[in-house]
Subunit: 668 residues, 2 copies
């Protein structure tokens, strides 16, 4: 048996070890419209808007991008897990707590998958969730402010890849560990004891219906395998969640060989409604854990970080009928559920077929206990008993599948670099188009929901090479937009992306733009250091701390002259932007600050911490061109030696503290 | 007199204090092509390339963007002054020194102006220079690797805005201070003593012809005014440099009122060839100063930072015939020199005309001493004597001017939101188009050089409002592309940009792509911790420091299992990417690292510093999807308590140090 596995592995590696099979020729011409037609289809006339928001993970930049479709234009980068000097995210006093973890302040993460909130498995346009893959976390982003509002860390986890996909009514986002690890409280064990000591935790993170507030409701302690992707059930399967697994070989070194041995890995089916019953019955156990929960308040414009010290755990061994494994060929990557909730598609990245599982058959197999043994105590359902059927010869290296809402699935193929459309019921390939090159994820508007808008598909390609003007050794990742409204998929546009886009979701603009927040109301600002008008500005010394209650309005700061700061002081500039009009931010920076700028939206207060390093008169200024007199929006801070007796004074214009002194100087 | 100034100021402020006069209606239809025509003109068919590189400052994000024209697609973000978690810039051990300054490590700056290197005032495609406005610096970026290779700090400066424009043969980049400050070594003075103590330093930074290496050749100690923009002469004026000034009122508070009092400020003409003569004569004085000079080596893939402690200074009072002021109406912003070098255009942002100065007339006025007194000892030339003429009623709020190479100038108008084309010789307006909204800088390919390619102009707008799908309170900055090949300028495309684009230059693709570097040759890698093959990998303990000599190649790390790390250790992962093929980076990250990832290009070595915070087995993995078996590209590091006797072992696959132990475990 082992020899056969090795042969398959060798064959696979021969194909896969290098990049991929490239499309033999640029078939663009044959598979696309005439250039003029395509041009018109992606052209968004100046003054008009895109039709869809495309919310795209930034991958190794740790952020989220907002792209317009069909134009492919990047409308915004939303900072999530990584410090973002542009706006002071992770540098300002208010946002630093957002990046706190049980390890301390982590300035970066790797964001892979977007999950937009749904109601009855349809997009509701409220929130975007995104995973942090490296230091396991889930973030929630408001689609009203386009800001990250909450980040929760996932304990007992090693690479939060299989995340944050949500249940039908956004009851939960999930977090399946990609790298099994020893539980956090039993951690110092030999790596070689993987099979004995490493576990694959899956977390269910509850989401409050109104506020969106997250909490880890429970963790499932499952065998030590790698969870890759996941999807919630829909309709009849809405009480279930499906996770793909690889490395069921439980290897701990050279996984490219050692985790590609078995003919089949698994899709794990989780009956989460059943898990809730077990919790209600008191079957959960609180276990020690340590993780951070960070919440940003729109009222105080500030974040808090709380460390939590225990987590509720369910042990499947004590909770029968909770988990079932469905065998799935060769290291399944994507695990996708069709709009009806009946079909579960497993994309084995080393497999030669695409298996489609039937939810009805799965229930039947469970009822009849049609098992093929168990894996670490969890029943393995018989492959044939749960299979709707296989798509034969679909392509090489299937990764992910989305749905067009017209009975078709579209699957991405990394190795053969193509998108393949196939009929879900008939399991027949109906169309294929090349991608340039090596497509990973794909996105159809509403494609993972019960209500796809099957107009476009975007291919997120892993290899760029010669598609754009060269930019040195490092190239932007590339996306491609196809029209899928007709029988044939047609390439419309290549567009580069920000970071490495893994998964993305697309949603009609109308579902989001109606809730857009343009400003923060000044009267609702509850920041502890707010100044709601220039009369409230002041400078307060508390020992070595100096707090500047400061305002900005076109085109000056108040105060704009400050004296009496001394070396050794720590100065906090709390800047309130008094503007109450859309698109009038002010920025603020101080020469030599060991910090980024702050970019303050209308009605908001934000704080720049500055520890002066030199004696002297230091300029400060507005960093965002705000009016014709923006260049004049500046000020000075005098820093004197420690022990100096220069008094603390401040002001602007006629109230400039130095005005009196100036007269005296002039008289001399 | 003062009353009149005040009246003008009040008038100006009434217009300028709020945003701007918006174009009364969207004139897009009348000023653009039919949509289909425009669509085809900006559509770059999949598989083909853009025609121009547009190298764009990122403004308050501190970076540089590379945009393709006419598509408007962002091809790359080049990290310069700000930490960039995406690639580890400013986080990796090799790049941290690049952000060192005399204040310490500064993680951010505000990059305003791009200057592409020129030979005989024509683009040569070698380097892009960019200024750091906040903590005064100039950076040099290679247009072969698209990486920042050098950053030099500018002492005695407060906001390096009037920078880094270059001389005809890139002999110098300049740095004029925007905020005058007391010299660094005489710094603790009252802010009210501005007129006595604050100075406006201008630095000339020399650039080595071959290596591009920068050094501050000399600083000019000029009166305390604000330098805003600058341009080198060309052709007959190539030995001169021109700087715009504002705040010649020398106000230090509420500048929006107090620096808008005078009817005319100045353009400063600097005879830099003369300065070189004075230096040769020994007229320069070395003065104490402290500034950082940071250089990145492509051979070692590492940066070094050197602190320099003195700077050569020329005092204009001791160097006659070096500097002349030309009066220029109301707070000139842009200061632009036409392709012939004969005309200097000053754009007074509160002025109702555009004055065009004649270089010939300037020389004549200097020869004849046609002075209008002096300003702080520097001769002021008579306005009428140096004026070629004024463009009458051009628009409101002129900011910047570029040239189309066909005898026309195009000027941006912030307040009236338009681009205005006018004939340089005749000073007549020949066309105008609206911008949406409030245009700042503009860019014509080759527009600031002796050889413009007058096909397009890009308007970089300051206000976005309703031009794209809304993204909360914060909106992307917006650019607009116009076709200027015919008599009438025609709007083609709106596209959002990254950060706040101030200035940008555009250059034909052919001048850059031929020099593109695709990989770093492994055999040329001189990093002190390189491993040029898996046989050279090892883990070395030096006290509490652990150095991992590590390699990556599709799809594994070597070593991928490490044991014997203890709490209290500092681990340095020195990762060499063994790939030698274009577009095959590998990323590297460790769970819980208080650091960003590293993104390592083929042939490069990069170092992630990791201070473990917890006992346990910690995953590490490749963060950049590199092959079909990328998900398998991972490893584990075991961290034991301080004082543990777990031996230091490492390996991959069969050489996995735990293999032997595993057998023993299996036997039990």
């Amino acid at each position: 048996m082992k020899n056969r596995f090795l042969k398959i592995a060798t064959y696979s590696l021969a194909i896969l070890g290098a990049w991929s099979c490239k499309p033999s020729a640029d078939k663009t011409a044959s598979s696309s419209f005439l250039a003029g037609d395509a041009a018109e289809k992606v052209y968004v006339k100046p003054g008009t808007h895109d039709e869809f928001y495309n919310i795209v993970s930034g991958g190794f930049n740790g952020q989220l991008s907002v792209v317009g479709l069909p134009s492919g234009r990047t409308l915004k980068i939303i900072p999530v897990f990584s410090q973002f000097a542009e706006s002071g995210w992770g540098y300002s006093e208010e946002t630093k707590p957002m990046l706190n973890t049980s390890h301390g302040f982590v300035p970066w993460d790797d964001s892979h998958h977007v999950a937009l909130s749904t109601t009855k498995s349809e997009h509701d346009g409220r929130w975007a969730f995104i995973n942090g893959n490296n230091t396991p976390r889930i973030a929630r982003v408001s689609l009203s402010t386009f800001r990250t509002e909450e980040i929760i860390e996932i304990p007992n986890s090693g690479g939060n890849h299989s995340s944050p996909f949500v249940t039908a009514n956004t009851e939960y986002a999930v977090a399946g560990t990609r790298f099994s690890v020893p539980p956090d409280n039993k951690a110092d064990v030999p790596i070689s004891s993987f099979k004995q000591n490493f576990k694959g935790y899956i977390s269910f993170v509850s989401i409050d219906k109104t506020s969106g507030r997250m909490g880890i409701k429970f963790q499932l302690k499952t065998p030590g395998v790698s969870y890759d992707l996941a999807r919630a059930g829909k309709g009849k399967s809405a009480g279930w969640f499906f996770f793909s697994t690889y490395n069921t070989e439980q290897a701990n070194s050279l996984l490219e060989v050692n985790a590609s041995q078995k003919d089949k890995d698994f899709i794990l089916a989780v009956n989460w409604k059943k898990a809730e019953e077990y919790l209600a019955q008191g079957k959960g156990k609180k276990e020690p854990a340590k993780y951070a929960h960070n919440v940003y308040s729109e009222e105080t414009h500030s974040a808090t970080s709380t460390i939590i010290n225990e987590v509720m755990t369910l042990d499947p061994k004590e909770c029968p009928d909770l988990l079932y494994f469905m065998p799935c060929p060769k290291s399944p990557h994507g695990c996708d559920v069709d709009p009806t909730g009946q079909y579960i598609v497993g994309s084995g990245k080393l497999a030669a077929v695409i298996p489609v599982f039937s939810f009805d058959k799965m229930l039947k197999a469970i009822a009849n206990k049609t098992y093929d043994g168990n894996f670490d105590g969890i029943p393995v359902l018989k492959y044939d008993a749960v299979l709707h059927g296989e798509v034969k010869k679909p392509g090489l290296g299937p990764l992910h599948t989305e749905f067009d809402g017209r009975g078709n699935a579209i699957t991405s193929f990394f190795v053969s670099s193509e998108l393949v459309k196939w009929n879900i019921e008939k399991l027949e390939v109906v169309d294929r188009v090349p991608t340039f090159y090596s497509v990973g994820h794909l996105s159809i508007p509403g494609g993972p929901t019960a209500k796809p808008w099957g107009k476009y598909v975007v291919a997120y390609n892993k290899i760029t090479k010669d598609r754009y003007l060269p930019t040195g050794p490092e190239l932007a990742q590339s996306a491609q937009l196809y029209d899928i409204s007709g029988d044939k998929m047609k390439l419309l546009l290549d567009f580069p992306t920000i970071g490495e886009p893994h998964y993305a979701e697309s949603i009609p603009a109308s579902l989001i733009e109606k809730n857009n927040k343009k400003i923060f109301k000044l009267e609702e600002n509850k920041h502890p250091y707010v100044a709601k008008g220039e009369k409230e500005t002041k400078v307060v010394r508390k020992g070595k701390e100096v707090h500047v209650y400061m305002t900005s309005i076109r085109s000056h700061f108040s105060p704009d002259n400050i004296e009496g700061i001394k070396l050794g002081d720590v100065v906090y500039f709390h800047l309130t932007n008094l503007e109450q009009d859309w698109d009038v931010p002010h920025g603020f920076a101080v020469r030599g600050a060991l910090n980024a700028e702050i970019l303050v939206m209308p009605g908001e207060t934000s704080t720049l911490k500055w520890v002066p390093t030199k004696v002297g008169v230091t300029p400060m200024y507005c960093t965002d061109f705000c009016s014709a007199l923006h260049q004049e929006m500046q000020g000075y801070i005098r820093v004197s030696p420690a022990g100096s007796n220069v008094p603390l004074t401040w002001g602007t214009g006629k109230n400039n503290p130095s005005a009196e002194a100036e007269k005296n100087v002039a008289k001399k």
